[in-house]
Symmetry: C2
């Protein structure tokens, strides 16, 4: 068994992914089995090109703490899908660095890499192991109660929606606000944007997730009905809502949107619904795209999320030492009150290319029992304000690799 390990990050950023990296570095060096933890720049792309750096230089407690509060991905990312020719090159690089375990932190695309690479090693009698560590703000990975990164994004959405609701309430004129939330294929983040209402507030009045069909006429009727009772109607909509035919709302071929240079373009769903409300109702309307802020707002990270992300990294090392390969770390919720989880693992093929939707029983978001279940599920995940190390300007300090 090679004396070193290697870790890479892949897919979209989150606030918690660097915490998982910190967990791998710390547990990898502490366990006594490995000499160096290497980091691949830009995920598997860096493995292929040999853009690899030693990470033991960042293993002191302060560096690890700084790494945990640094947003996005300290080693960079990639969206590279492994081709057949890549396998041999990866094996060669790992052998050169005496690497016995490769840890890959990412979502369901990254788990595809874990599956393929672990199979290749098995087929070529290479003792190298491959362990997946889950990460996605979308919370859409199967076989795990939730994913590291989701809790912090959900915390951002809860805070920001609460503030937008207050901001929208100030004028006496009737208005509609449409907030577009990330999560193209799953509505978990949009449910988090709904928390201010599920916890007893009036808004957001309309909450639309991609798993449930979206009907534009029904939407306009609902907005009109809410406008009778409310000055300001707030809508939280997933970027990926679709009609009955499965077409993304606002992206149908009927769209006549043309940009300033005369080119056809597809506006985001928030902008499209803004135009729809202006066209059909004619009242004051604003759309807000929360954009990358919901995945990079480290100043609003959930402490629970950062701790669990780090735990996922540490447990990945433990699982590797047990001799496993081709698996992804998973969380099981043991108890809601007090909240506790246990950590296990699942074959990465159960996750690769698959998604965990919001279940159909939760589609009726007007149902008080459903609202309570959502609150019970979400609240522990968004809990805890990390104590951040700040510089003299008040900004949380970052660790740049």
């Amino acid at each position: 068994m090679g004396k070193n390990i290697l870790v890479g990050l892949s897919g979209g950023p989150s606030v918690a992914i660097n915490s998982s990296l910190a967990g791998v570095i710390d547990a990898g060096l502490r366990c006594g089995e490995f000499t160096e933890v290497y980091g691949a720049k830009n995920g598997i792309s860096g493995v292929l090109s040999g853009d690899i750096i030693p990470l033991s230089q960042y293993s002191d407690p302060e560096s690890l703490r700084l790494l945990m509060q640094t947003p996005a991905m300290a080693l960079g990312s990639c969206r590279h899908k492994l081709s057949a020719e890549d396998f041999q090159q990866v094996a060669k690089q790992l052998a050169e660095l005496s690497v016995s375990v490769f840890f890959y932190i990412g979502g369901n695309d990254s788990m595809d890499t874990v599956v393929k690479l672990s199979r290749y090693f098995a087929e070529t009698n290479n003792p190298c192991r491959v362990i997946g560590i889950p990460k996605t703000i979308d919370n859409d990975l199967p076989d795990t109660d939730h994913t590291p990164g989701f809790g912090s994004a959900a915390r951002y959405l809860y805070h920001t929606m609460s503030e937008i609701i207050r901001d929208s309430a100030i004028y006496p004129v009737k208005s509609v606000v449409i907030v577009e939330v990330m999560g193209r294929d799953s509505g978990w983040l949009t449910l988090a944007a709904g928390l201010p209402r599920f916890l007893g507030g009036a808004a957001p009045h309309i909450i639309a997730i991609p798993e449930a069909h979206f009907d534009e006429n029904e939407f306009i009727k609902q907005v009109e009905a809410h406008l009778v009772e409310n000055k300001s109607v707030i809508c939280a909509v997933s970027e990926g809502i679709r009609d009955e035919q499965g077409d993304y709302i606002g992206m149908s071929t009927k769209s006549g949107a043309v940009d300033s240079f005369g080119h056809t373009y597809l506006s985001g769903v928030g902008k499209y619904l803004e135009e729809l409300v202006a066209f059909k109702i004619g009242c004051k309307v604003r759309s807000i795209e929360l954009n990358v802020m919901q995945r990079c707002a480290s100043h609003l990270a959930a402490q629970t999320d950062l701790q669990e992300a780090r735990l996922a990294g540490e447990e990945a090392v433990r699982v590797a030492l047990e001799g496993k390969t081709g698996v992804m770390i998973t969380f099981k919720r043991e108890c809601n009150s007090p909240y506790s989880i246990s950590v296990s693992d699942t074959p990465a093929e159960n996750v690769a290319g698959k998604a965990k939707d919001v279940m159909a029983e939760w589609f009726n978001l007007e149902d008080a029992a459903v609202q309570r279940e959502i609150v019970t599920y979400l609240l522990p995940l968004i809990a805890g304000e990390p104590e951040l190390l700040r510089d003299e300007t008040g900004l949380p300090r970052y660790l740049l690799m």
Copy 2:
């Protein structure tokens, strides 16, 4: 002299305006000269319609503290400009409530109301006084070093830009990110978005304020030049940047933008520049509109800003007791290190309808001396993290009137 006072809020929201309201309530009741502090719902509109509530019910220390951490405007807002017929009605309402001082918290439009109303009272031998309390995230009021509300918005921009810069750095592919910042007529907030660079970082690479002319061709040349050296080029642009003719960028009649329903529309400048970069350079490009979050993100309020906003409210009561009318509270910076201000007042006519631009000496944002001056000006204003009272879900608690 009437035994009560009245306060109203006007214009756009900020994170700090409720702190000024707390200052008026607290000082108004503590000074021993007044029996009740009334609050007008929706500013002068509420005065006209008689939608007025007593605020002494919110004068206990916990309520005042909650009010200070509540975003937007606890009494609502309006954009009503006083007409000649309104004066008599205002005077009647104030007399009915035995109000001797009317406090109006807002920007330069609100100070127009302060000027007109105080003149009307003088002309009609009405002893009622009118005191203006400054509030705008735009920081564009004359005669004051800065305005309450600006520091918190600037703190939001500094944090959020720093996070976006990290988020944008993760992929190896060349990309451009355009962040659109509020401030239609003044670039103060955009300067705050530039802080990550002024403090020694590489980004944002391009910073565009409305006071300096914006040239599209020059912008594209600069982006191209930065793309040679950098993976990711970050631009912070004010929503109000204009060309040499004074026309808003992207809003010229040449724009051919058409929405999904075939209607001509004006996209924001961020979206327009995104289209321009895609058209002229063709690289990956994203625009981010920070939207209302920069004015309502109470979770990122600057403690200095909240304290000073409260002080402005308290000092307004003191100035009223001195017998002044038709004035607005102002801040003078006494020292940068340690930072200290003194509070004074200025005739509201010096502020009404006027604006304080970023000075021409600061237009060259590449100049290291200019960068140092901007840092010296901004850093004290964004300082301090308030200790927020939170509910069991971790959300800062709000006071709803």
